[in-house]
């Protein structure tokens, strides 16, 4: 199992490299010009300099390599620096000749200057992936936006699973009963109604007509006491409901199918023949075996729900990473788009890996060689 996991981890490196190259080339081949918004009065030679400042002057392979280094080498170091207060993502560079004496003194006092054979050198930060739109490091913005997405999407996923599992179990146990028929119908609806329709629909019903819930998610709201917690709870209900409807529909269908497969097996008859109570037969014997494929489906669904959350974030104005991607796209902010899309890809690869490993761990019949 461990060998298998390690092999898959190693194999995921070329996969990720290929995906990053594909996304990079897609953005590269696209005809959009980041200088399109610059006024026409700016002279062409200045424009050329601005282009170089954005790193656009170099050939494509060099820029791809630089982005790779920044994303895979510099950014993790910045994270470590931030966590442990180290100085990994810093390097020495020659002091510019025109630096003022006072600044030089201050830097020397702070211990940022050292003397080498080539002259004075000072400690500067490594180049990170910079957003063209905000001129700040892309990862800083992503880290700011990530909690909102994880909070809403994560809650929705958990709620969806918690609703889906009992529905799936009971539907399968009472196959073709009224509960099963209506459950199947409702999951089919959840499967078919897109989030950009359920979102506005729920807003019209619960926020406009009934006035029970807010329609916009207030992301700067901080939970400090019971009142603010209640507000946070209320504002999360609508986006979570929209996202959870889809999760519920998918997972309960899988749960039902998986339970049905297992309920007709011989070991269930054996368990009943031994005189075990019905609750033990269904909830222990059948459920544990039925959960194996469902758990992998749950793991596989995680990245998809992050992608699908883009629409929900736009509807409820949650400023998470999906909304960040949309705004970056419209602003032609290619480094941001590249990094975000790649983060989505990393998530897919990681959760695929988790699903496969989980399958092997849970099901003793599966042995990866």
């Amino acid at each position: 199992m461990l060998t298998y996991t390690i092999r898959r981890l190693v194999l995921s490196v070329p996969t990720l490299l290929f995906i990053s190259l594909a996304i990079f080339l897609l953005l590269e081949l696209a005809p959009g010009d980041p200088m399109a918004q610059v006024p026409l009065t700016v002279p062409p030679e200045v424009k050329e300099k601005m282009r170089e400042a954005l790193g656009l002057g170099e050939p494509i392979p060099v820029r791809y390599y630089k982005w790779l280094v920044q994303f895979f080498w510099v950014e993790p170091q910045v994270l470590i620096d931030h966590l442990f207060d180290t100085k990994l993502a810093w390097h020495f560079a020659p002091v510019p000749a025109d630096m003022s004496a006072t600044l030089l003194n201050t830097l020397t006092e702070k211990g940022l200057i050292k003397e080498t054979s080539a002259g004075l050198e000072m400690l500067v930060k490594d180049q990170r992936v910079i957003s063209w739109q905000t001129r700040s490091p892309v990862m800083d913005i992503v880290v700011q936006r990530l909690p909102q997405t994880i909070w809403v999407v994560g809650t929705a996923y958990i709620v969806g699973i918690l609703i889906a599992l009992p529905i799936g179990i009971y539907s399968a146990y009472r196959q073709y009963s009224i509960f099963d028929q209506s459950g199947t119908f409702i999951t089919m609806i959840g499967f078919s109604v897109p989030p950009f329709f359920t979102g506005p629909l729920l807003i019209v019903i619960f926020a406009v007509h009934l006035g029970w819930l807010p329609s916009v998610y207030d992301t700067i709201h901080v939970v400090t006491d019971w009142e603010s917690f209640k507000f946070q709870f209320r504002q999360m209900i609508l986006p979570v409901m929209v996202l959870a409807l889809q999760t519920t529909a998918q997972i309960s269908r899988y749960m039902r199918a998986s339970m049905l497969d297992n309920l007709n097996q011989d070991y269930v008859r054996t368990a009943r023949a031994k005189g075990l109570s019905e609750a033990v037969v269904v909830m222990v014997h059948v459920l544990r075996n039925s959960m194996i494929p469902v758990v992998t489906v749950i793991a596989l669904g995680m990245p998809a729900i992050f992608g699908g959350a883009i629409i929900t974030e736009v509807i409820f104005k949650v400023n998470g990473i999906g909304q960040l991607l949309i705004t970056a796209l419209f602003a032609n902010d290619l480094p941001m788009v590249l990094t975000l899309t790649f983060i989505f890809a990393i998530m897919i690869v990681i959760f695929n890996l988790i699903a496969d490993v989980l399958y092997g761990v849970l099901d003793p019949r599966i042995r990866y060689e």
């Binding site: 953005l27 089919m188 950009f196 629909l201 975000l340």
Partner: protein
């Protein structure tokens, strides 16, 4: 041992297609779904010839009309029999817009589904039939499966909109772009299913027999393999149609779809959201149209899967 009283089965013999149809007819949801899909398709195809109002005609005096059923709840609602679904803020007719929007959505859905099936089936058949190509093609499928689809769709549509619309016109360019991109990013499940079936079929005796009388690979595939993998292709085609319609509407909703004067259901829904407090029907009508169409297609797929599965059929 007793003789069978009646060794020869009585009753009419039925062909496979008749069996499939008989099973399909038993699935009520599937029949309703198929009926609704046929209705919508016919409506968007021939509706504009019956309801001849131009969807783009601006009639400012008849703007903001409510749909006709509002008169039941609210006697003071502004309604008119000339516009049963009401009009929008520029006085464009609701019915003809729904029909035109449905035309665009269904056209994109069908075209993207056909393209998906074409790519998926060819890759699946080639990977299953030619052992040497199996490995590389399946790795390619895995790679495509790990691409983040919706973000990539957004990226591609935003970035390539300009050159395509200058070459093929704003509507034509967008149509080609959306259909092409949905096709390129959603063929993988079909390819996997088809490959699995082809791998199993290849070892069967009838393929050996066909090969032994000198059938070429091409004929083997078109005459013997393809007809036998038709049922999984049909089932994934229904799923593909549903996904394509939803994807197109999602793109239009996010504002990266067709140009603003070209109605599609997703676009109408997105345009109506800012004023949905006063005019909820403008969100409701296109939203219901999308949802019901997708629901119908999904139910049809369910019924088709049951009907085409010989283990379920005949029970």
């Amino acid at each position: 041992m007793t003789e069978l009283s009646n060794p020869v089965p009585q009753g009419k013999s039925t062909s496979q297609m008749q069996d499939v149809w008989g099973q399909f007819r038993k699935h009520k949801g599937a029949m309703l779904g198929a009926g609704f899909l046929a209705f919508i398709t016919l409506a968007v195809l021939f509706g504009p010839y019956v309801w001849t109002l131009d969807p783009q005609r601006i009639d400012y005096r008849a703007r903001d009309l409510r749909p006709i059923y509002m008169a039941l709840f609210d006697a003071s609602a502004k309604v008119s029999w000339a516009h049963p679904f009401g009009t929008d803020q520029l006085g464009r007719d609701g019915v003809s817009n729904m029909l035109a929007g449905g035309r665009a959505s269904m056209a994109v859905g069908w075209a993207a589904m056909l393209l998906t099936m074409l790519i998926g089936t060819s890759i699946g058949v080639i990977a299953g039939f030619f052992r040497r190509l199996d490995g590389p093609l399946m790795r390619l499928t895995d790679l495509f499966l790990s691409l983040p689809i919706l973000p990539l769709l957004l990226v591609a549509v935003t970035l390539f909109r300009q050159p395509l619309s200058s070459n093929f016109g704003p509507e034509g360019g967008m149509f080609i772009l959306i259909v092409g991109i949905i096709g390129i990013t959603s063929w993988m499940p079909t390819a996997r299913i088809v490959r699995g079936d082809v791998l199993a079929l290849k070892e069967r005796e009838f393929v050996l027999a066909a090969r032994s009388i000198g059938t070429t690979n091409r004929n083997l595939i078109t005459r013997h393999i393809l007809p036998n993998v038709l049922s999984p292709i049909l089932v994934s085609a229904t799923l593909g149609l549903a996904t394509a319609i939803i994807t197109e509407s999602a793109l239009s909703f996010l504002g990266v779809g067709f140009p603003s004067d070209f109605p599609t259901w997703g676009k109408m829904l997105a345009d109506a959201v800012p004023r949905m407090e006063n005019f909820p029907e403008r969100v409701l009508l296109p939203g219901l149209a999308i949802s019901l169409t997708v629901l119908a297609v999904n139910y049809m797929g369910d019924g088709l899967r049951d009907a085409l599965d010989p283990r379920i059929r005949g029970r």
